[in-house]
């Protein structure tokens, strides 16, 4: 069955990744082949919900000619909304009071008024849930997954991951050189709250001494033993990669004062503190600090923590991401042409598939214990902070 489309829209939401323009280009070129018109919605759904903010209009007509020379560099011409959430739009009401209102019905009406037949949304894992709700409410939609942590379920590869990985490897190589020169152990934290793909794959690429990921609770004694062995052999430096969500086997990350009970804070907000009064949200850099401090104690070798964090999200896309972006964009158009809606384009090698959004949300794609990357790391002698494991 082929859908009768005339005009479709594309938007970007849920945080930036490298080279989003590649997806936009893919959509426009593929739609052009079918004779469909494409408009871009600026800043998530803001271009439709608040067009008055945009002197040139909230919608941007995208032609094949226009995207042909679109920069493949970082960012996206359509802008971005960190949270594309039409269900909770913050606005000032007639009484001059700020409030969050559900404008989802309004959004769907505006989409119809603009004669937009369907919306392709390039979004991160959180915004996929919002897309799912909009679909349930009647919006014809296809999602394209982006994630620098590669943690979107139902796809092997999210757009943006490969570029982040490449840049992380580049940075880690420099950290290693600096660590060698300074004769210290560099402990580098990378993104990965629940999923350790970025830490693990980057760690393998640079042959790190250890990689700590959320999926494998660590015991730093094992890492220290590995580093001590190396130090004894006269190599007085090291490189340890830590995913931000990595945890020790005995529970939570602790760094000096952060773990101390704070009775004043507990008094002011009795339900808002963790056990012992500690903070619950761990700040960026917390994992690296914890590990660096403890490894220094265990190895008697100077360590220093570094955080790559969101730095890896920017910059130009890699060749893999360029191809993937174009393929995802064109794939989303194909999904609409096959009359599919409420689906996400997923790369399940060797195919591009269309999976229901319901299968992609409420899940996190984590590193399984039998992952080939875990096996590779073990075979290369990279410590994963675990005891002896025969691979």
């Amino acid at each position: 069955m082929t859908a009768q489309m005339k005009r479709i829209a594309i938007n970007v939401g849920g945080g930036y990744v490298a080279g989003l323009n590649a997806v936009i280009t893919g959509v426009v070129l593929a739609a052009n082949e079918l004779g469909w018109e494409v408009v871009g919605i600026r800043d998530g759904f803001d271009g439709l919900l608040a067009p008055e903010r945009y002197p040139d209009g909230g919608l941007l007509k995208l032609t094949a000619q226009m995207v042909q020379n679109l920069s493949a560099g970082g960012g996206a011409i359509l802008g971005d909304a960190t949270r594309t959430d039409p269900f909770r739009v913050r606005q000032v009401n007639a009484e001059n009071m700020v409030e969050e209102v559900d404008r989802s019905s309004d959004l769907i009406a505006k989409t119809a008024a603009e004669q937009i037949d369907a919306v392709i949304s390039v979004v991160g894992p959180q915004a996929l849930s919002i897309l799912f709700r909009l679909h349930r409410q009647g919006l014809r939609t296809v999602g394209v997954p982006t994630s620098v942590e590669n943690d979107v379920a139902a796809t092997q590869l999210s757009f943006g991951f490969n570029s982040a990985l490449s840049f992380a490897v580049d940075m880690l190589e420099r950290v290693r050189q600096a660590a060698q020169s300074a004769q210290k152990i560099g402990v580098v934290e990378v993104l990965g709250e629940h999923a350790g793909w970025l830490a693990l794959q980057a760690g393998i690429a640079v042959c790190a001494d250890a990689v700590l990921i959320p999926e494998i609770p660590y015991d730093l004694q094992h890492v220290a033993a590995k580093l001590r062995e190396k130090l004894k052999a006269g190599r007085a430096s090291g490189l340890v990669i830590v995913a931000e969500g990595a945890l020790p086997q005995d529970g939570r990350q602790t760094v000096g004062e952060a773990a101390a009970p704070d009775s004043l804070k507990a008094l002011l907000s009795p339900r808002a503190t963790g056990e012992g009064g500690s903070h619950v949200i761990e700040r960026s850099g917390h994992a690296a600090q914890t590990v660096a401090l403890q490894l220094q104690r265990l190895t008697d070798q100077a360590t220093y923590p570094l955080v790559l964090g969101p730095l890896v999200k920017g910059g130009p896309p890699t060749a893999v991401d360029r191809q993937l972006g174009l393929a995802y964009g064109a794939g989303a158009v194909r999904a609409l042409n096959e009359d599919k809606s409420g689906v996400m384009v997923a790369f399940q090698p060797p195919d591009l598939k269309f999976v229901p959004l319901a299968e992609a949300i409420n899940k996190v794609r984590t590193v399984p214990d039998n992952s080939v990357f875990v096996q590779i790391a073990r075979s290369l002698g990279i410590s994963l902070g675990e005891g002896e494991v025969k691979s």
């Binding site: 009484e95 709700r133 939570r252 907000s269 339900r271 963790g274």
Partner: protein, 319 residues
């Protein structure tokens, strides 16, 4: 117990929390009742759970005992907004699907899931407040309403304050005055001490950091100072690094309040990160996490300016 009939007919309100033995929300030892709902969105807000006017789900991951031992919430949620990740047995909340219905709360034995805010009647609140009345007499304290913006639930707030007066309890409110004047007219007649925020002087900057400009706020303040010359007003500024921690703002506020003898003091509340963890409990992002509290030196310098304006020697009055 004296229970005035008038207070039983007023609507119920959404109460976030009743905090006993508070020493920061007015004179003496006080009981502070936090009402839910706010009309501003200050980026430094230390009570993010007070912003939404309705009851709202909170989740403390640390307390969750995990799906292997429990997992009742996973079955109870009608929106499929609670889920698991493979690397952890503790549940996670999909905040984009959660509708704050609260059905998961009673089935959570460790109380890691809870609702911020509950509906209460005026008498329910006042009965609890009155339990502390001996402390008020000793210390010159009483009832304080805070928030959110306590004047948002104007009828409920007015009934609480009037009821407290009928029970012989001193009253105070903490307010930002960003409400229609009709709310102020209802609430302020029943208030003894009005603690009110002068957040940012420049209107455009006020809008940037709080969501609205300050035109109506300043109008309300002036009108309140003039309408109730016998009430005690205490001006306050939450001192936020890089936003309003400068002499210019402090001097502008001092100039604004100078003509009014009923504005008896101006206090600085240094920014702290107390609210940070609560953002996580609500699935929200705390935007001020890279800011540090103002230095003691800066605080001391600004307080000297205030002390001089009030004609007292610096350090004598804790402001």
């Amino acid at each position: 117990m004296n229970t005035p009939a008038a207070t039983t007919t007023v609507p119920k309100g959404i109460v976030l929390n009743i905090q006993h033995f508070s020493t920061h929300d007015g004179p003496g030892m006080r009981t502070t009742v936090f009402l839910k709902g706010c009309t501003l969105r200050c980026k430094w807000c230390s009570n993010p759970e007070s912003i939404n006017p309705k009851p709202e789900l909170g989740y403390n991951l640390n307390k969750c005992i995990g799906k292997d031992q429990c997992g009742f919430c996973l079955k109870e949620c009608p929106e499929s907004a609670i889920f698991n990740v493979d690397s952890d047995t503790k549940v996670r909340i999909n905040w984009d699907l959660c509708t704050n219905c609260g059905k998961c709360v009673p089935v959570c034995p460790p109380q890691s899931l809870y609702l911020f805010g509950q509906e209460m009647t005026v008498d329910q609140v006042l009965d609890e407040v009155e339990q502390d009345s001996s402390f008020y007499r000793e210390s010159g304290g009483g009832l304080s309403l805070s928030g959110g913006e306590c004047q948002l639930q104007a009828d409920f707030a007015a009934a609480l304050l009037a009821g407290a007066h009928q029970r012989g309890i001193n009253t105070a409110i903490e307010t930002a005055f960003n409400v229609p004047w009709s709310h102020v007219e209802k609430v302020l007649p029943h208030v003894d001490v009005v603690l009110h925020d002068h957040k940012v002087t420049l209107s455009e900057r006020h809008k940037k950091w709080t969501g609205v400009d300050n035109k109506r706020i300043l109008e309300n303040m002036k009108r309140a100072y003039e309408t109730w010359p016998d009430k005690t007003f205490i001006a306050r500024t939450p001192l936020i690094p890089g936003v309003n921690d400068d002499e210019e703002h402090i001097r502008a506020v001092l100039a604004f309040i100078k003509p009014y003898k009923n504005v008896v003091d101006y206090e600085l509340l240094p920014y702290m990160r107390f609210g940070e963890s609560k953002y996580g409990f609500l699935g929200k992002v705390y935007e001020m996490q890279d800011f540090n509290p103002p230095s003691p030196e800066l605080l001391a310098r600004l307080r000297v300016i205030i002390a001089e304006a009030f004609g007292r020697s610096p350090g004598r009055k804790s402001s």
